[in-house]
């Protein structure tokens, strides 16, 4: 039965590949991430930067997809007012603030549990009011240098990914993990659950886009767990964009979003992550976009948008190169079958970025 399901999944993938817009449905799913109505309150995570994981009477549980995000809560008359907000995959120093008509609401931080990335607050959203909640670490919107880790391609190596998290935990300056796809081998619910549970070993959150392995399964559930494939956020003056290249292409809907994000980040330091490299420096392999001309058009757009860095996964090795003049790194060191004869092995990148100067350093950190 399992082999039949796998065969059907492969056929579905091939059929999707023959479609000209196989990622369109996922781009539409992106637009629905972070929305829920519960107990008379309509919650909307702005820009879909968190997933609604669970709603119970008086409790909203979110999975953060960015270091900082806002939630609009529109409460109807007679709606529940007391809400417990649980945010998983949050920045360890994240705080919740809430405003109604410019006036702050009283927020109570509940005692922290053993996991630094799970935060819980209580807030009272007055019935009939519209509140804006912000989940973010202090000074998240103030330009300042910081470091983060870039990782991709864990796939079948989930049982060993704890080694990587321990290595990341050993560097207290890394603020979050920027993950460029292929969390799992097939994108099944069991694997998504396992990835999530093993992520508990990390002291910092992981913000991801999906890879081609997340869409091998017949009914991909990635969005329900980790959120949007195409997303954009800012942190300490730096713009981060992730795009869904799971099919070796960018859907036109996602490209429209990208246009807006490039315009927003044009005058700032702007980094882009995606799973499948737009171009592969090893051309005969072409572990890259399916159409080189689409890739070139996208790169021309990124260069015109004054992008500062592209980070890719998919190829299980480390490459440093330039595409359309934009510094670029492939870092697929999460543990999936490594590229042989390259002397690299499991690794991640430590990226130091300064909103005033740009990308300062990108360092290869070996795990094995």
């Amino acid at each position: 039965m399992r082999s039949i399901r796998q065969g059907a999944a492969v056929l579905a993938l091939l059929a999707a590949g023959c479609s000209q817009r196989p990622a369109e449905e996922r781009a539409l799913k992106d637009l629905r991430v972070g929305q829920v109505d519960a107990n008379g309150v309509s919650f909307t995570v702005e820009d879909g930067l968190a997933v609604v994981r669970k709603v119970e009477p008086g409790t909203l549980t979110l999975w953060g997809s960015a270091p900082a995000f806002h939630v609009r809560a529109v409460s109807s008359a007679g709606a529940s007012e007391e809400w417990t907000v649980v945010v998983r995959n949050a920045m360890p120093d994240a705080e919740l603030s809430a405003l109604v008509g410019g006036e702050p609401l009283l927020v109570e931080a509940l005692p922290e549990g053993p996991l630094p990335t799970v935060k819980t607050w209580k807030v009272r959203v007055p019935a009939g009011a519209e509140a804006r909640l912000t989940v973010a670490p202090p000074l998240w919107d103030q330009p300042a240098p910081f470091r983060f880790a870039a990782l991709a391609d864990v796939q079948e190596a989930m049982p060993r990914v704890g080694d990587i998290y321990r290595r990341i935990n050993a560097d207290p300056t890394l603020r979050f993990i920027f993950f460029s796809g292929d969390l799992t081998q097939r994108g099944s619910v069991e694997e998504l659950e396992e990835f999530q549970s093993r992520l508990l070993e990390s002291r910092i959150p992981l913000f991801a886009t999906l890879g081609n392995h997340e869409i091998i399964t017949l009914h991909p559930r990635y969005h329900e767990y980790f959120g949007r494939g195409n997303l954009h956020y800012t942190f300490q003056g730096v713009h981060f964009t992730m795009i869904d290249s799971g099919n070796g292409s960018l859907d036109p809907r996602a490209e429209e979003m990208l246009d807006g994000w490039l315009a927003a980040g044009r005058e700032a330091v702007h980094l882009l992550g995606t799973h499948i490299p737009i171009v592969d420096p090893i051309g005969v392999r072409n572990g890259a976009f399916a159409s080189r001309n689409e890739a070139a058009a996208l790169l021309a757009k990124l260069a015109n948008g004054k992008l500062d860095l592209t980070l890719y996964g998919h190829v299980h090795s480390y490459y440093s190169f330039s595409n359309a003049g934009i510094p670029s790194f492939i870092s697929g060191g999460g543990g999936a079958i490594p590229e042989q004869f390259d002397g690299v092995g499991r690794h991640f990148l430590a990226v130091e970025v300064d909103p005033a100067q740009g990308v300062r350093t990108v360092s290869l950190v070996r795990v094995d």
């Binding site: 000209q20 420096p281 976009f289 159409s291 021309a300 190829v315």
Partner: protein, 384 residues
Amino acid sequence: MMVRLWVLALVVLALVVLPGAVQAQVCEAQAVAEVPAQALPVRGEPMAGDQEVPTRPRFEVLPAAVSVVPGLLLHGMGSLVAGDTRTAGRHFLLQGSGLGLLVAGGIPIAMSGASRRVIGPLYAMTLTGVGILSISTLANLYGAVSPAFPPGQVARHLPPLELEAGYQHVVDPAFDYRHFVSVGALARLNRVRLEAGVRLSPDEGNLRVRVGGAYRLLGAPEGSRGRQDGTALDLEAAALAHRYPAEVFTLAGGELFLRGRYDMARFSPRMAGSFAEMGVGFAMQSYIYTGPVDDILFEQLLFSFGYGVYLGRGGPFRGEAMLYYDHRKDDFPGGIKAGGGVPGFVGLRGRMLLSGPWGVAAELQAGSAVVGRVSLIYALGGEP
């Protein structure tokens, strides 16, 4: 250099797997004579026409049905049921060779993590396997139905110069362009073939120009085949420039390609009128952007295979049609959006001279984009 030698060796290997390919210059009559008479069911009628064609098997429903089920899984079953054990054996050999090459190339790719050190030859080997398997599949189907109709014949003489003009339609979600004017020229000078093609989108200004040539290493020149069959080996070279003014970049590059064609009548009289093609090559290209200049010269593995049929039977109507796979990612169709950027595109093309100097060509390609093209051909000289 080592990689290119490997690639060349694999093409030769693929051609050798097809029995008799190294004898490409042997005339068709001789080739037909090489097929042992006892391998042929002698139940059919001899073909009409002035070209010498062996006795062909009669169409039978059961072998045709068996060629589909279970023949699509085990090629040659239809021939076996029809009593043509020699063709069946060659099918088994062909399918087995394809599977073997696919496994021999595919497993090391997976185990090596598609290592940059070995990926070129391994992809070429894997694609050779896929190509042979595909050719075997199509030959198996063709062999099942071909007894139902008289086969086409390779054109004995093609014009020294063909000019064409047409229309190309492209549906690509990544680009706004749709309509293209397509013009081209093809000259045949004994063993040398020169080609040029231009695609221009008047609305977008998108312009693709490709000029190239080929030298026939083995096989009769297209312009004067006489009684020789279409089996041939060509070395091709081309230069390409593709300007994208709306997206503000230009692609420029050059390529070398070794293309082999094998007349399938050599494989079995059941396959008379059909041919298989396979080729491998290498392209170097650069994408040129305004402002920042990219510092990488990109390489590309070129590989194609296909199965086709000859159209016409010795009269003025002559041409061919072919279903094919092309591994390149830099043409209008791009690659299929599955498989992490690895697959190329599939296509179906036909080119035929109809009457007098006039002919038509048509092509349909599907990858990241769908491309359709129809052209009117004007031929100078080369009457049959």
